[in-house]
């Protein structure tokens, strides 16, 4: 029964039944309102993906709606002879208008994305505000687009022998598109590409270290959001049968964002709830407020503006978030996963004793501060090397040099015999270097299983389209099976479905280790893996690391827990004030006078 409840087919059937019931009950005026809600939902759904999931935002979505609407209008009304050459072929065809809108949207969004997405987060919203304004003036002043008067007399939509000329028939078309978009979005989020987009929330450094191309993940979210808006615009043109620049300005772009925030910006149903609440509330406020204030004007902006402030200050998850807290957890169990057929291919492992990662006289200066001075070390396959030293000794700096997060001032790092100078953390990850972070970087809202599966990103091939159409299921099952396997190795096999944010701190570290292992690495860099673990968890971790070592993995760990290190490491390198002060077996280090002095101070 539970499986039936969670199945997508049941969901679609329920949605269609609900839509049918609504269409029978609604008055023509309400049906028009429902169509407006559907059109807005489509655009807001894109914002849920962009803002709620990927952590970016755009105030230019209305302008993308405009691109879709104007493309439809121009192709539908302008005779072939008056169209620019190349477009004349499309003249009069509704699908041609849709195609033109989608292509134009991809071009504009790619340019905007290319120039803003590499920059820090506030340039995209500012860029989209400018784009929204430019769009408004461009379309308002261009003759082909009818100036500020717009394009009227758009014929009714004929599609596959059907005519969509009234609110009732458009109702099914619009809401059909919404259902399709919801499905496609849900599919995308529950896939390898979706996890890449969701992992942007854990910081770009983490995502790149797991082999995720963060730029293309951002671009994907931005393009999908823009395309949803363009489809909404196409539908809008055939619903209104009239297109002008006014409803596509920045103000409308802001309204879409408000809908997302009110409905719940990080949940797919939030898009529909938000669009519904805002559209209905706006109708009502536009009736009531002018009476209240004794004059006409768009006073509802005061109410919406203040509502957004309160929502962001008090309940950032919006209405959908509040509703989700009411629904009993049991209904939300993830559906049974398809069983994995076959395993993911494994990487060729270096021979035991072969040097995997090597630092050769690494020096890193920050201005006048020498964080690392001529440090050399090497880790071989089947070996555990521990890097220790007092706080501020330069361990984390060295760690960053080794994983290509930072570049040494002089000296070089070699990974599998190759200089890594100029390589990115992402390409190292793809070649078998995996790491954990001193300050844990997990996606708190994502399940433990999905967090670990981010690590397996480089072992999958399927892209965005395959995810949206569910053509990725076989590979997806193998990726998730691998993540589940690594989680059970670190002792979290029975916690797969719970949210990562609700684990204890020590368990966070274990998830990070499982995530690193899911990439099938040949070298593992662990930054304080035992911090926050209980005694028995430490022992279990030590057992696991010994086993990995026996399988031929090279392990480098930074750790403060001396009992843990002494019992586990084959060799230890001690650094202090950026310099190597000792290297050797645990027994040698234990009696080394320089180490004792560094840790306990001189005995003068």
């Amino acid at each position: 029964m539970r499986r039936l409840l969670a199945s997508p087919v049941t969901g679609i059937a329920a949605a269609v039944a609900a839509l049918g019931l609504m269409s029978a009950l609604l008055t023509p005026y309400q049906l028009t309102l429902a169509n407006n809600i559907g059109l807005a939902s489509l655009t807001v759904l894109g914002l849920v993906l962009l803002t709620g999931v990927a952590g970016m935002t755009s105030f230019g979505q209305a302008a993308f709606v405009g691109v879709g609407a104007y493309s439809a209008a121009v192709i539908a009304t302008v005779p072939a002879a008056n169209l620019p050459p190349g477009l004349s072929l499309l003249a009069g065809s509704p699908l041609g208008g849709l195609l033109l809108g989608l292509v134009a949207t991809v071009i504009v969004a790619s340019v905007l994305g290319a120039v803003t997405l590499r920059l820090s987060g506030h340039y995209l919203p500012l860029g989209t505000i400018a784009w929204g304004l430019s769009f408004y003036y461009l379309f308002g002043t261009t003759e082909l687009f009818g100036g500020f008067g717009g394009i009227s007399d758009i014929p009714a939509l004929h599609l596959a022998g059907l005519t969509f000329s009234d609110a009732a028939s458009l109702y099914w078309l619009i809401w059909g598109a919404v259902i399709l978009a919801v499905l496609v979005t849900a599919n995308l989020l529950d896939s390898r590409s979706g996890r890449a987009i969701r992992s942007l929330r854990g910081g770009q450094l983490m995502a790149e270290s797991m082999g995720v191309n963060t730029f293309s993940a951002k671009m994907t979210a931005f393009l999908v959001a823009a395309l949803f808006a363009a489809v909404a615009g196409w539908l809008y043109a055939y619903t209104q049968r009239f297109v002008a620049a006014a409803p596509f300005g920045t103000q409308a772009g802001i309204d879409f964002l408000f809908m997302a925030l009110i409905g719940g910006v990080n949940r797919v149903p939030g898009a529909i709830i938000g669009a519904g609440v805002v559209v209905v509330l706006r109708e009502w406020l536009q009736d009531v407020l002018p009476h209240l204030f004794g004059r006409t004007g768009n006073f509802e902006t005061i109410v919406f503006g203040l509502a957004i402030v309160v929502i962001l200050q008090k309940t950032p998850t919006g209405i959908a978030g509040a509703l989700a807290r009411l629904v009993p957890k049991r209904l939300w169990r993830p559906q049974a996963r398809r069983r994995a057929v076959g395993e993911l291919p494994r990487r060729y492992m270096p021979l035991p004793g072969e040097v995997v990662l090597e630092a050769d006289s690494i020096t890193r200066r920050f201005g006048g501060l020498v964080a690392n001075n001529e440090v050399s070390l090497s880790v071989a396959s089947g070996e555990i090397l521990a890097l220790i030293g007092p706080n501020g000794a330069g361990k984390s700096t060295l760690f960053n040099q080794l994983s290509a997060v930072d570049r040494p001032t002089s000296g070089e790092v070699r990974f599998l015999g190759r200089r890594i100078h100029g390589l990115t953390a992402r390409s190292l990850a793809a070649n078998g270097l995996a790491r954990t972070f001193q300050h844990v970087r997990l996606i708190r809202g994502m399940s433990v299983l999905e967090n670990a599966a981010v690590g397996a990103h480089t072992r999958g091939r399927n892209g965005v389209l395959a995810s949206m159409l569910r053509l990725d299921r076989a590979e997806e099952a193998r990726l998730l099976a691998e993540a589940a396997h690594q989680l059970s190795r670190v002792g979290l096999g029975d916690q797969l479905a719970i949210k990562a944010g609700s684990l204890a701190l020590g368990q966070h570290r274990l998830v990070e280790i499982a995530r690193a292992l899911a990439s099938d690495p040949c070298v593992l860099l662990l930054d304080e893996p035992a911090a926050g673990l209980r005694f028995q968890e430490k022992q279990a971790l030590a057992r696991l690391l010994r086993q990995l070592k026996a399988e031929g993995m090279a392990i480098l760990l930074v750790e403060h827990d001396m009992d843990f290190v002494m019992g586990l490491a084959d060799r230890i390198v001690v650094i202090d004030f950026g310099e190597t002060i000792a290297a050797g077996t645990p027994e040698e280090i234990r009696v080394n006078p320089a180490v004792i002095e560094a840790y306990l101070g001189g005995a003068e």
């Binding site: 506030h122 500012l126 505000i129 430019s134 004007g297 768009n298 962001l312």
Partner: protein, 345 residues
């Protein structure tokens, strides 16, 4: 185009560029101290311009109602916050003073016939009314979420802007307004004839820039703000409270906006919703300065003014498009210089 027209356009561009430069400085100031992209910056400009216009045409000044209302909310929030922190009822003195000030500007604004008083009195009262909006907006809207991600701060900034636009419509009505110039004289400067109001704009902008520079270089408050902008946590550890830094930077932003509004009101017709476009051009300048460099941003804003003025001549209907398209090459250049992966937050 002949030289005479070029001179005229250049003069126009210089005037608006000077205003954009001021706004760009203020946007960067607020952003570097609080991480807020102050979209409502333009509302300070329009509110002060429209307040001046209301006074000059003998209408009552109703903006005080907004000041008083916000001050009451701020007072209530402060009392609740004190109650939660110290478990006793106290009335914080600053917010009480702001509420009293709000009542004062409501009373004066509704009763005093400002059209019979001099320009200086009008300017003084416009400043007294608009500037308190800065710290009040910070207290009510931003202080409760001061440590939220910058994306959230941006969305709140947009929401405040939208609410203020609605409020502006309610307070000032939909009609545009223009005020009387400070003086009617014109100045002959070589071949150019310059309206004295232009000189006022440029002079006041320059003076305000110098005053800000002195404030940041020599005064303790200015240095504290610079410290907070440089390293928020470090500044907090040496006793510069983020609340103080936020409130002070917003007060300065409101002051800069209000002064800009007063000097620009005789030149352009201002509507209740003109602020958005004005502040966006300040944003273009600030982006050219990478949200961090004051001189580059000021220079960028002056260029925006020129681009706008000259495109009015050549392609007036595409004026706004040209100005905002300027952003693309700037962003592209910044994007190419960016290291491949920076870690955010």
């Amino acid at each position: 185009m002949n030289g005479q027209i070029a001179l005229m356009l250049g003069q126009d561009g210089m005037t608006s560029g000077a205003i954009y430069a001021l706004l760009a400085l203020s946007i960067i100031l607020v952003f570097s101290v609080t991480r807020i992209l102050l979209v409502p910056q333009g509302e300070f400009v329009t509110f002060s311009a429209l307040t001046m216009a209301a006074m000059q045409s003998g209408r009552p000044v109703r903006l005080g109602v907004l000041v008083f209302g916000l001050a009451l909310v701020a007072l209530a929030m402060d009392i609740v916050a004190e109650r939660q922190r110290h478990r006793r009822w106290t009335v914080p003195r600053t917010s009480l003073a702001l509420a009293a000030h709000g009542l004062f500007v409501v009373g004066l604004g509704l009763s005093v016939p400002f059209d019979h008083l001099g320009l200086l009195v009008q300017i003084g009262f416009a400043l007294l009314t608009v500037v308190p909006l800065g710290p009040l907006i910070y207290r009510v809207f931003f202080q409760p979420i001061a440590s939220a991600p910058s994306l959230v701060l941006l969305m709140v900034a947009i929401a405040v802007h939208v609410a203020l636009i609605g409020g502006g419509l309610l307070i000032f009505g939909p009609e545009g307004a223009r005020t009387e110039p400070f003086s009617d004289s014109v100045v002959q400067l070589g071949p150019a004839i310059i309206a004295s109001q232009t000189l006022w704009v440029i002079g006041v902008s320059a003076a305000l820039t110098v005053a800000l520079w002195l404030f940041f270089e020599t005064s303790l408050w200015g240095k504290a703000l610079r410290a907070a902008a440089f390293n928020r946590l470090g500044a907090e550890l040496v006793g510069i409270s983020p609340v103080f830094a936020g409130r002070t930077s917003m007060t300065l932003a409101a002051l800069i906006g209000a002064v800009s509004g007063i000097v620009v009101a005789p030149i352009t017709t201002i509507y209740y919703d003109s602020g958005f476009l004005i502040s966006l051009k300040g944003f273009v300048g600030a982006i050219i300065g990478a949200m961090s460099s004051y001189p580059v941003a000021a220079l960028g804003a002056l260029m925006v003014g020129q681009a706008e003025s000259f495109s009015t001549f050549w392609a007036s209907s595409y004026k706004e498009i040209i100005v905002f398209t300027l952003l693309l090459p700037v962003l592209l250049w910044r994007s190419l210089r960016q290291p491949s992966v920076g870690d955010d937050e």
